[in-house]
């Protein structure tokens, strides 16, 4: 009897102790352990707890939202911080385990609770199981994909259970793929063959390695049926890969072409229409990129510059979330304006004296470009500066395994908008009419009462402003540094010259053509250096054949 009571009591106690370990408590315990393997074990034990809470807490840890505060007694206490900041930038801290407030702390004084790859792997495994019931389809899909690649038979029941309930078509496909991948590990050959057929039917690219292993294994064991099934599936997938590569190359060519177009369209106006060989065009791009950087800093932590020993401090807004992500929207018009103003200064200061002397304008603008580069170096330092992309530009959209990066989609839309805007400006507005008149025949336009000086200035400002816009975009995909302009100036001139000087449509077609050619050669040759060399060689030969470019502007003017 006593024994029985004791046993009941013991089981009750045990039950209580298991019950007591909520996810929060387990994580609080794991946070204080130094050894990452022990941490990983504790995290793995979270598998049976409430998925939403586990996701919330582990994500907080992973993203550095939990800090280790050393209290007065010298013990480490995991804390979380409130969003709100007071005047000194301090935030109210709560104990992670109990939620009790422990006073105001400065985030920069604290060490975030760290995670290393082993621990993150354990977290990911637990998160994947928890994410399987996530309301977000994208998260479910990712979780399913990881399970498939691990080919762990233990996950099969969970996946099968999910399959009956799943409604989203992408996740459904991912579950089919994952189940088939796991079934490739099955003992029974019939199941394996069915899995191979399934993988072939859904054209699963990730399964290629596993299928190749099956082919090798089955051939060695002379199981022809299985080997054939796997080989058939591989052939199906190979066809699909060819399609994905072709479509991907077309998209990448389009996006590279759009970048070329965006950086060259400003030059198409200053060089193409006005005939000014502006070697400082690249630096106008850099001005746009640096403007984006400054705007980003103002939205973020602020910026301190000390050009020529003058100290300039720009206060930061310390914005986060949506507001911070909007910085780029403001950066676009501002980079247009700054570059346009710089363009006006350049035109008024130097270029207007050199309209009839193209060679001198080449030399003078080259000098300006060197001066500007040094100016960037003195103001922002010789190192590259960091421009982070807003989150809405850093994702991607995958259709049928073809990847469309948001930043690339954005640049294509952006290029279309710019070309449309510039065409409208030139064709439909009074300013456009004046610009075209002056560019066709300056003296005649002047005789008709057009203030050609002013039109020149505005045209040059437009060209420079467009370069600035290009710079804002370049900052999202590449480096921002003092020599940024040098990297693009050759591409700019190349695009404009191939297209035919003085013709916007020519620039559009040549940019897209060069982009497509470059990406196709890269895909076919598998070598970026060789691809680029062939493109340049092709351009040289093309210009031998058609020195005036794709589209020749016919003019009655005697100047030419």
């Amino acid at each position: 009897m006593i024994k029985l009571i004791f046993a009941v009591l013991l089981s009750w106690l045990l039950g209580a102790s298991i019950y007591a370990a909520t996810p929060r408590e387990i994580i609080a315990k794991a946070l204080l352990i130094e050894d990452s393997e022990e941490q990983a074990k504790l995290v793995t034990s979270l598998g049976d707890s409430d998925p939403q809470e586990v996701i919330a807490l582990l994500t907080l840890w992973k993203e550095g939202g939990i800090f280790l505060n050393v209290d007065a007694a010298g013990a480490k206490v995991p804390v979380t911080l409130d969003e709100e900041k007071d005047g000194e930038g301090k935030q109210l801290a709560h104990r992670f385990d109990t939620g009790a407030a422990v006073g105001k702390l400065l985030a920069s004084d604290l060490n975030a609770a760290e995670t290393d790859s082993a621990l993150r792997l354990a977290m990911k495994s637990v998160l994947d199981m928890a994410q399987l019931s996530s309301p977000d389809a994208k998260k479910r899909q990712e979780a399913v994909e990881t399970m498939g690649s691990e080919q762990d038979p233990e996950r099969l029941p969970a996946l099968l259970a999910r399959q009956t309930r799943e409604t989203d078509s992408r996740v459904k496909r991912a579950i089919r793929e994952a189940i088939a991948l796991i079934q490739l590990k099955d003992e029974n050959d019939a199941v394996k063959i069915a899995a191979c057929n399934e993988l072939g039917a859904i054209r699963s690219i990730p399964s290629q390695d596993a299928l190749k292993a099956i082919v090798a294994e089955a051939t060695a064991e002379s199981k022809t049926n299985l080997a054939n099934a796997a080989q058939l599936a591989l052939n199906e997938i190979a066809k699909h890969v060819t399609f994905v590569n072709t479509a991907g190359t077309a998209f990448r060519g389009l996006s590279l072409g759009s970048i070329l177009l965006v950086v060259a369209i400003g030059l198409a106006i200053t060089f193409g229409l006005m005939g000014v060989i502006n070697m400082a065009h690249g630096e106008m791009i850099a001005i746009g990129a640096y403007t984006t950087y400054v705007v980003q800093c103002v939205f973020g932590p602020g910026l301190e510059l000390s050009p020529f020993g003058i100290h300039i401090a720009l206060p930061g807004m310390n914005a986060t979330g949506t507001l911070y992500n909007c910085y780029f929207v403001l950066a676009l018009p501002l980079s247009f304006l700054t570059a346009a103003l710089a363009g006006i200064a350049l035109e008024r200061g130097i270029i207007r004296f050199l309209y009839r002397r193209p060679l001198e304008s080449l030399l003078a603008t080259w000098g300006v470009s060197l001066v500007l580069q040094q100016l960037f170096r003195l103001t922002f330092g010789a190192n590259n500066v960091q421009v982070s992309s807003p989150s809405w530009l850093s994702g991607n959209w995958t259709v049928n395994d073809v990847l469309f990066g948001w930043n690339r989609v954005f640049v294509i839309v952006f290029a279309v908008a710019i070309v449309f805007g510039v065409t409208m400006l030139l064709k439909k507005t009074p300013l456009g009419l004046l610009i075209r008149a002056v560019m066709q025949n300056r003296q005649m336009a002047a005789c008709m009462g057009v203030r050609t000086e002013r039109v020149n200035m505005l045209t040059f400002a437009l060209g420079s402003g467009l370069a600035g816009l290009a710079g804002a975009f370049i900052s999202q995909i590449g480096n921002v540094g003092p020599s940024l302009g040098q990297l693009y100036i050759v591409d700019c001139f190349m695009t404009v010259v191939v297209g035919g000087v003085g013709n916007l449509i020519g620039t559009v077609i040549s940019a897209l053509g060069i982009g497509m050619l470059d990406q196709s050669l890269q895909q076919i040759l598998g070598n970026p250096v060789l691809g680029k060399i062939l493109v340049l060689l092709g351009i040289i030969l093309f210009l031998q054949w058609k020195p005036a470019g794709l589209f020749v502007t016919k003019s009655r003017s005697l100047e030419n």
Binding site: E114, V385, Q476
Partner: protein, 423 residues
């Protein structure tokens, strides 16, 4: 009148000579040969700074064998032929007892004949491709087996099965990747699991492994698409020898394609704390690095080194030293270790003569540096500890794994035999 003038001039002359000779006895000239302008200045200026700091530290404690170090700083200006001229000046004109310098392999190759002709001594501190062993160069640098192959060991232990090789197009990545190819094959990784492509000569011998992009390359779309397909089946990683700022477009594209350090980690051999300052830290969190020193090493020697260096930065009056936001990194520490090893060798040899100093170095001297104990070897390389680290959002590395006392071996090509697949 004239007499007295003559006398005073004579006296002044004698005094000057006397002062000069006193100076000559009390100091020893040591050359610093780094690029302080041009493209490499960003990296190499830090080495100039740490060398000047080390000299000041040694001089404050009485110098080398009783003589104060007198630095002779010259600018290689990222111009390789100029490096050779400046080396000639340091050896023939200034008669420097030793020179610390060079970063790129091409600058080292260009000064090598000058050092061999004049029997000078160069300490070279930056990771390099091996396949070289001169009696006039002491390589404190990481050899391939002190950086590249330990990373592969680590990744294999993490269960990685597929390796994509990617690098900038010059001698260090090309040679390193060829050695890595042999190493991976010797570890039983099948050749179809090594990505990036191969170039073969007529006889079918692989002469280039991996994918290469030129300096300043900005368009990584196609390569990322390839990596995406390569890593689709899981258990893949990227071994990157991309140099400098090409890492920015690469990692931006990598993140945009939805790749993460968990799915397909990138181990980079050219990103240390110093380079990290110009990279988007957020996009690099969780990626791997491998060096013989990280600033995050927790040891009294490292703490003292970091504190003293930061203190020196605050009070130094040397022109052009940037004082804010400075970090310490492996090439800096290997420069620091080099100076102390040279000091130990001079004191052991009892002479500044290159032949005797070399003999002392080859006998195996040890120094407890910020990265742990380093020992000089007979082949003019350095035995040292190797660390694998993971990048954090604050630009530092979290140390994941440590390999102690790794012997520096420059001749690796052809030493790893492919493992025959066991059935």
């Amino acid at each position: 009148m004239f007499q007295s003038l003559k006398k005073s001039i004579l006296a002044a002359g004698i005094a000057t000579v006397a002062v000069l000779s006193v100076q000559a006895q009390d100091t020893v000239k040591v050359g610093i040969l780094h690029s302080l302008s041009g493209t490499m200045a960003i990296s190499e200026t830090s080495l100039r700074d740490v060398l000047l700091f080390t000299f000041d530290e040694i001089n404050a404690k009485g110098g080398v064998a009783g003589k104060k170090i007198e630095p002779v700083v010259v600018d290689g200006a990222s111009n390789w032929p100029l490096f050779a001229e400046k080396a000639k000046q340091l050896l023939e004109q200034d008669k420097c007892a030793v020179v610390f310098g060079c970063w790129t392999s091409v600058s080292r190759k260009s000064v090598l004949p000058v050092f061999e002709k004049n029997n000078g001594l160069l300490f070279y501190p930056v990771q390099y491709e091996g396949e070289e062993e001169s009696k006039n160069v002491f390589y404190t640098a990481e050899a391939v087996n002190q950086q590249a192959t330990p990373s592969i060991d680590y990744l294999l232990a993490q269960g990685k099965k597929k390796f994509y090789l990617l690098g900038s197009d010059y001698v260090y990545p090309q040679t390193t990747n060829l050695v890595l190819l042999e190493y991976l094959l010797s570890k039983g990784v099948p050749i179809e699991n090594i990505g990036g492509g191969f170039k073969k000569d007529e006889s079918g011998k692989v002469i280039s492994a991996g994918k290469y992009t030129p300096f300043g390359h900005t368009d990584y779309q196609q390569i990322i698409a390839e990596i995406k397909q390569f890593s689709a089946g899981g258990k893949a990683c990227v071994v990157s020898t991309l140099n400098g700022d090409t890492n920015v477009p690469f990692f931006k594209e990598y993140a945009a394609a939805g790749l993460t350090a968990e799915k397909c980690p990138v181990v980079s051999f050219s990103i240390s704390e110093d380079e990290f300052r110009a990279l988007p830290a957020k996009q690099l969190v969780g990626q791997l690095g491998c060096w013989t020193y990280f600033q995050s090493i927790k040891s009294p020697a490292n703490k003292a080194f970091v504190d003293n260096f930061q203190g020196w930065l605050k009070q130094t009056t040397v022109d052009g030293v940037k004082k804010e936001g400075r970090v310490t990194c492996s090439p800096m520490v290997l420069s620091y270790d080099g100076v102390y090893l040279w000091k130990a060798a001079v004191e052991k040899a009892g002479s500044f003569e290159v032949d005797k100093v070399r003999e002392a170095l080859q006998s195996g001297l040890s120094f407890n540096g910020p990265g742990g104990k380093v020992t000089s070897q007979k082949n003019m390389h350095l035995t040292k500890n190797v660390f694998i680290g993971e990048t954090k959002a604050d630009g530092q590395f979290k140390i994941l794994k440590q390999y102690d006392g790794v012997f520096g071996e420059p001749w690796l090509k052809g030493t790893f035999k492919p493992k025959v697949a066991t059935k």
